[in-house]
Symmetry: C2
Subunit: 293 residues, 2 copies
């Protein structure tokens, strides 16, 4: 790691420690936070560029601690905003409220995002282990589990870390450039669920709104991060402009009509999970960075 | 207020302040927390008995502050457990994990529960105000909004405050005794939504799994707490043993079949909201105390 970046990380750690004790709450110290944010971006970039194999977010984790977000002086409190987003009470939002930026950085780079994901994966693994594979072999052959891709098995947080952590309007072009690098890290808790399913005999189907034109790089990225042996990788036709909820409901319906039984389904958006043919159980991973209708 | 109770409240405040700084994390100090809990129970009882008009939970609110829950040493962290419960990832749970008791007390009696509820109510009010009353008068007459009752418009937290805040198995008999007092306080954020709807022309329907035998006391309790002018109060037949999700789906379906349009629906359980005839938009209030299938 370059010395300059190590210094930036030290600054970042000090600022996060200070802010968790309220020392950064006065407006004149906001500039310091901006410097800290730049350090996070530099760090995220560095980890991606230097070590393609390591999970970027979680490699950063021990460096920034797990301090609770500060109380936010303006607008909706971060905690309540996040809960309302995760429960689908706040919908159709375009960006994370600007005053939540400090809190979302801590959330994503601290312990909490990983812990929240771990509890979801633990529940899904327990459900999978308890799920009895009834019926004859032909029936067992028809059991499938659906995975969304972005923010479910692969993370685009390294991209968002360099673009305001969701507080700025999304630039699809630059996000696509990131995705095309094929280096999105694995979300390790979902990888654990994936591995449990691989040994259960339930078939794995990826269902993503990534377009067909991204098939090769998506397959390569999944394999790079330890995902293999899937049954189907369903991507959106290049000319399809429907919403995620409509597209994914339709694909689930097709699976069901072809005789498949959807044992479980996991995603970071409600639009990954609800609509038609929802299957026997759904698992909603956290995602406070962006909203997909 | 009796002096002895004032002293208990002072002890409680001191203990909560101490625990929020980590002073109570060592096991040998657990006994102190038990004393604090008894003080909370005494306080809840007192407020209910002395002032029927005041909302119990929120009268207590300023006394206990809004400190974030401490990190929990054992089991699933409180924050992640609560998020998983509120998003429906953890289902069919019987009691709040014992190690979350301190956190749930702070959650319910501190600022967070009210803040979380406020954000949901704000979204629902904004949606209501933006909802265009289209069509002719006959069509407008058919617009309805569904409210659940317990933990949606009325609170049973004063009961749970005296019975372990959800960490102990529910005693239906003693809960029913509490409900039969007819003094459950209003949840003020939902009352605000109720008032906004009353002036919108959208009809209000209560849909609760309280049994018919509780109709009189339920009506009296609602009126005592400022709810009036509802269109229907749908209670579960005394001999009906179906789950909430089945019963409520059936009642919504009947409303829909009778030509009503469900503009919105609000409840604290997913079983209040999903299933059949969900309506145009659903709002999930927080409830980490108990789970209703």
């Amino acid at each position: 790691m370059a010395m300059a970046t190590a210094n930036k990380l030290a600054l970042l750690m000090a600022l996060l420690a200070a802010s968790s004790y309220g020392a950064l709450s006065s407006p004149e110290l906001r500039g310091l936070w901006t410097r800290a944010e730049r350090a996070v971006e530099a760090a995220a970039e560095l980890f991606v560029e230097e070590d393609l194999g390591a999970p970027v977010i979680h490699a950063l984790r021990p460096l920034v601690g797990s301090a609770d977000p500060d109380p936010l002086p303006l607008g909706v409190p971060w905690d309540s905003w996040r809960l309302a987003v995760e429960t689908g009470n706040i919908i159709d939002w375009k960006t994370v409220p600007a005053h939540c930026e400090q809190a979302i950085v801590k959330y994503l780079l601290g312990d909490q995002y990983r812990q929240d994901s771990k509890v979801v994966a633990d529940e899904a693994v327990a459900y999978t282990e308890g799920f009895k594979l009834r019926g004859n072999d032909a029936e067992k052959e028809k059991l499938v589990w659906l995975f969304d891709i972005d923010e479910t098995v692969l993370s685009t947080v390294p991209y968002y870390a360099k673009h305001g952590f969701g507080t700025k309007p999304l630039n699809f072009t630059s996000l696509k450039e990131y995705v095309l690098q094929g280096i999105s890290p694995a979300l390790p808790e979902t990888l654990r669920l994936y591995s449990a399913l691989r040994s259960s005999g339930i078939k794995i189907v990826f269902l993503s709104t990534r377009k067909e034109q991204l098939r090769n790089i998506t397959e390569a990225n999944l394999r790079l991060r330890g995902f293999s042996g899937w049954f189907k990788l369903l991507l959106k036709p290049d000319d399809c402009e429907g919403t995620a909820i409509v597209y994914k409901s339709g694909e689930r319906k097709k699976l069901q009509d072809a005789g498949y039984v959807i044992v479980g389904s996991i995603g970071d958006q409600w639009s990954d999970l609800i609509g038609q043919a929802e299957g026997k159980r759904i698992f909603k991973l956290p995602n406070p960075i962006y909203y997909t209708p």
